[in-house]
């Protein structure tokens, strides 16, 4: 890859943020992690990442945040030319039914993790979503075989005619 694929975590409680970052340490070498405490800060982090010609592969977002809430932030991202492709995961204990429906219908939410989560659960969701992201974006699956879901990546290679040379 000639550019980085970021994981963005949006969370206002510091202990929770630390826990997520810690749980995702095995991805950090390949997918740098950025954090934001509010939706407004997250918006500017997203812009910075794309401005530097990198991209956001995955957003893990809390719902209840000071200021704009997580679901509204994710819905707004849908009108962002590039970040609309990012995989979006809501990590929350407090999103009501109405918010959740909004997130699915209007922000094309990819996954919902209810707090509290386990490290295994979080890792497997992140792995799955990043795998889907690199497949959707048609990146060379071989670059991610060792870290993401290798079977799914191999399957995607099978589906696209491959050639000897």
């Amino acid at each position: 890859m000639d550019h980085e694929i970021y994981i963005l975590i949006v969370e206002d409680e510091l202990e929770v943020m630390d826990a997520i970052v810690n749980d995702l340490s095995e991805f950090e070498d390949h997918f740098p992690i950025e954090t934001a405490n509010t939706a407004e800060e997250a918006q500017s982090v997203v812009d910075q990442i794309y401005h530097a010609n990198n991209e956001v592969g995955l957003i893990l977002c809390d719902h209840v945040l000071p200021g704009k809430n997580g679901v509204d932030f994710l819905i707004e991202l849908q009108s962002h030319d590039l970040a609309r492709n990012s995989k979006k995961v809501l990590v929350t204990g407090q999103a009501g039914l109405e918010d959740t429906i909004q997130a699915i219908n209007k922000a094309r939410l990819d996954h919902y993790i209810a707090k509290p989560w386990t490290k295994e659960q979080l890792d497997s969701v992140v792995k799955e979503q990043l795998t889907n992201y690199v497949i959707d974006r048609k990146y060379n699956p071989m670059e991610f075989m060792a870290i993401l879901d290798s079977v799914k990546l191999a399957e995607s290679m099978r589906a696209n005619p491959l050639t000897d040379n």
Partner: protein
Amino acid sequence: MKINRKQIIGSTVGILGLIIPFFLNINGLSEAGHVTLGVFFLAAAFWMLEPVPIYATSMLVIFLQVVLLSKEGLFFHSVTDSYTPDSYTAFIGTLANPIIILFLGGFILADAAVKYSLDRNITRILLKPFGTSPKFIVLGLMVVTAVLSGFMSNTATTAMMMTVILPIIARVKNNDPLRIGLALSIPFAANIGGIATPIGTPPNAVVLGALNQQGITIAFGEWMVLAVPLVVVALLMAWFILTQMFKAQTDHVEIDMSGRFNTSKNAILLYVVFGITVLLWITEKAHGMKSAIIALIPVVFLTMTKVITKDDIRKLPWEVLWLVAGGLSLGISMKSTGLAEWIIGSISWSSFGPLLIIIMFGSVCLLIANFLSHTVTATLIVPLAVSLATSGLATEGFDLVIVSIVIGISASLAMMLPISTPPNAIAMSTGTIETSQMAKAGITIGLLSLVLVILNAVFYWPIIL
């Protein structure tokens, strides 16, 4: 478009290579031969250093030949003593060369097989008898891979088989060498299996296309009679070496292969067309219809019945056809301008016996193909063998067909490095193996298989041909 240093060097070398021969006056080489030498330098430099994709180089080669060397091009409008220019249709016509059409048929069949999961279902059925002992599982996987890669691309076969072995690898203990053996068995078996049929892998096409231009045709079934025994022995040898080098610690391996054959109308049509096509290919001798003609059967019937749709057709690997066509086109000029003969003439072949020539071509090819594309290697070397035959410089006993097949097969046996072949690159990307392990096994199997090729070339093939 970003341009890096490698691209700048590659382009510079290639362009200088194209221009310099225009300013030289080489004794014994026609004017057109000088031009072809330039095109050859450019193609070789571009194919080796890859400033542009290898198929783009092939397109450029055809373009340059049409413009610089054809009767309708810039320079050679009439016949002279030293050069009878071909019409431009000869160069662009390589795109419809019988071997290209044969490959097109193979592509359509392989694409449909993947679409209706025929590849996976064949794997499931064929793996069953191999039980659960690691040794035999590896053998089973290698046999299935080799069989499939005879009809599909080696790379596509490897990708599919990875979906089979990765779950096994995940269940085997981290320090069990079986993991390495498994991960290497697939690309190696795919490379070896591709040799088995004319459509198995593009180097075979290069060889058959070049022979075709000399008026020599090898039937589909005949190629298989020549190649399959070699493939079987090489495969068993590779299996033995891999299971010795990477001895399994566990004694029991489970493969989870559930699923059933697709029984939709389209899938059944595919099975029938696939079966008929392969049957007609291997019985060419009996009915006399050429394999390229038979290749039109899947093309016509699978598209008419919409088993293969417009979208599927668009996704076919057309660049491989251009790659092979570019090589065939270059071969035309190398021969008609006397360039190949001139290159060949610079070595005094009469001092080499036919056996030594076979050994030389085989080992040079095996060596180069580890670093370059297998197809490109065959493309660059086959015209030399052709000229050696037509120039009459070779010693008595030199057989063009045998030497050409040696070149094609040796190219396929190059599997020492991750860059040697796309199947190797896929296996490497799983993170299960180290380059040194691949190199150790790849060199051993490559060299021993080359010995097999030479034995075949001396003792077996002359009986068949």
